[in-house]
Symmetry: C2
Subunit: 309 residues, 2 copies
């Protein structure tokens, strides 16, 4: 089942304690599609300038991704430059140039309108609304956002909550949105306003899915070296929705497994700069890491009762 | 199997966004024993002043804990006062008065010297050495420490690493000790210096056990309300070692389960001030939460291969 994804298609210049990368492909739609396309067909909608190396997205098409929704316009592509601190958890934005992204008006190609699985990358909530306006009958809509929109576009964002299935944000964002420091209560606050589920991404600390009557937690995979955390959240979303779309089910067992695939793809994404690690990632590697997650989290339950004090 | 625990027996005054508690019982040995005694017999060694409400520790004796190693001396008990911030993850220390704890010289009663399971609470590494000098042949030694000793008593602490089985500290501490921001590499650095295992406590983000050839992660339990995080780490250690001692085994499956009981007891500890929640905690409640941890973390592994793109 194909996934429609709408978000930024960008160029990033990134410095981390592990090295530097200059004007490499990035953006929420690119990271999402690079992960999701390993599991399900993806349809990408976005905008780039005439400086964008579209040939570097050929690996997506080779996996069956449809990039016909990426509009190329005269001007510069969205550009972001940032530098990560030693702990990799904090970063400084050095430069942001919107370029042609400033006037982005998502146009969903006719062939994409029947999409049942939709990822709304982190863009203006007004544009996220416009995407949904052009999709016939979406069944699962996963939506990301950020502090900038929570502060500046709250009414549009609040209305959007009524149109999505899963809000997928990081811990700071859900706390800010709900104005509630407790994560569980913040998630419940969101759920009361529309989305049946909230996925809270906590970076290296893992991610947690709050559903109606149950909760699921998956840790971040312990890695010896993180090259570049950029895009990990979008790769998580791609693994999550890619897994869900492949199963065409939203049963709890499938949602749990989708979280594992999300954390798996997120953990690969940070092992190299840009989407490098996701380009030639093999299914055997994905399988091995999913099994490693099982090993990382499995335990027998109760102590034998007869030995209880 | 009895556990010997040595640490502070203190009085705490705590302010959190949920309320205040004044001069309530606390300290690493008290939190540890309150949790561990639910699972295994505990022997406590510490020192208190003549102001200490020893009668409030009667619940431990009722569970078979041996408090004969708590020395009462003329003077004031160790007193700590602190205030937690809104996010409950950071706190300000408002007051610390060592009192009789300043001259604490742990004396291990003869009857305790054959203990095979030992918990060295967060005290001066020189004193932790003195405890081990008085134990005949300990088999599992779990040791806590803090930034104060990592900075001020590094040689004694480094030597101690060669005498313990499991270093159990929080993420900042292991990073500081190893001078290494990456958690996995920091743990490996410690393991190369003696302890076969390192348990890193990450507060609400859970805890991770680094063993020789495997790693286990348990999340923090998602709670709607945290009353008081004080002592959660020591309650975790109590649940962990209490579970291990009951099984008299350090097989991987038992260590994994011990982590679950650690996180379980830690999660109960924060639900009320001081050790209140641990005093009348029932085994059915413990069982239910362990099962809830199972529900929180369980998933089926791989996607069905035939549906792979």
């Amino acid at each position: 089942m194909s996934i429609l994804c709408v978000g930024s298609v960008a160029l990033d210049s990134v410095e981390t304690p592990s090295g530097k990368a200059d004007r490499v492909i990035g953006g929420s739609a690119v990271f999402f599609a690079s992960a999701a396309s390993l599991l399900s067909p993806v349809r990408v909608v976005g905008v780039v300038g005439d400086d964008y190396p579209l040939d570097q997205l050929a690996f997506l098409e080779a996996r069956g991704a449809d990039l016909s929704g990426i509009e190329q316009r005269s001007g510069d592509s969205f550009f972001w430059a940032g530098r990560y601190h030693d702990d990799m958890n904090t970063r400084d934005t050095l430069d942001t140039r919107l370029g042609v992204f400033a006037d982005f008006e998502p146009k969903i190609p006719d062939a994409f309108r029947e999409s049942k699985r939709v990822f709304l990358g982190n863009i203006d909530p007004m544009l996220q609304h416009k995407v949904l306006d052009q999709v016939d009958a979406p069944e699962v809509v996963v939506c990301d956002t950020m502090n900038y929109w929570i502060e500046g576009s709250r009414p549009a964002l609040m209305e959007l909550l009524g149109r999505i299935s899963i809000l997928m944000v990081n811990d700071e964002e859900v706390r800010q949105l709900a104005d509630e420091p407790n994560l569980l209560r913040a998630a419940r606050w969101v759920q009361e306003r529309g989305p049946g589920m909230v996925v809270v991404k906590k970076g290296e600390h893992g991610a947690i899915l709050f559903a109606d009557s149950w909760t699921f937690f998956i840790p971040g995979f312990p890695l010896e070296r993180i090259f570049d955390p950029t895009g990990a959240g979008d790769a998580f979303a791609g693994g999550f929705l890619g897994c869900l779309a492949q199963q065409n089910s939203t049963e709890p067992a499938d949602l749990r497994r989708a979280m594992v695939y999300g954390s798996t793809l997120g953990s690969f994404a940070v092992e190299k700069f840009s989407v490098e690690r996701l380009i030639d990632l093999g299914h055997d590697e994905i399988d091995d890491r999913v099994r490693a997650f099982k090993e990382l989290t499995s335990f027998e339950t109760l102590l034998p009762v007869e030995q209880r004090v």
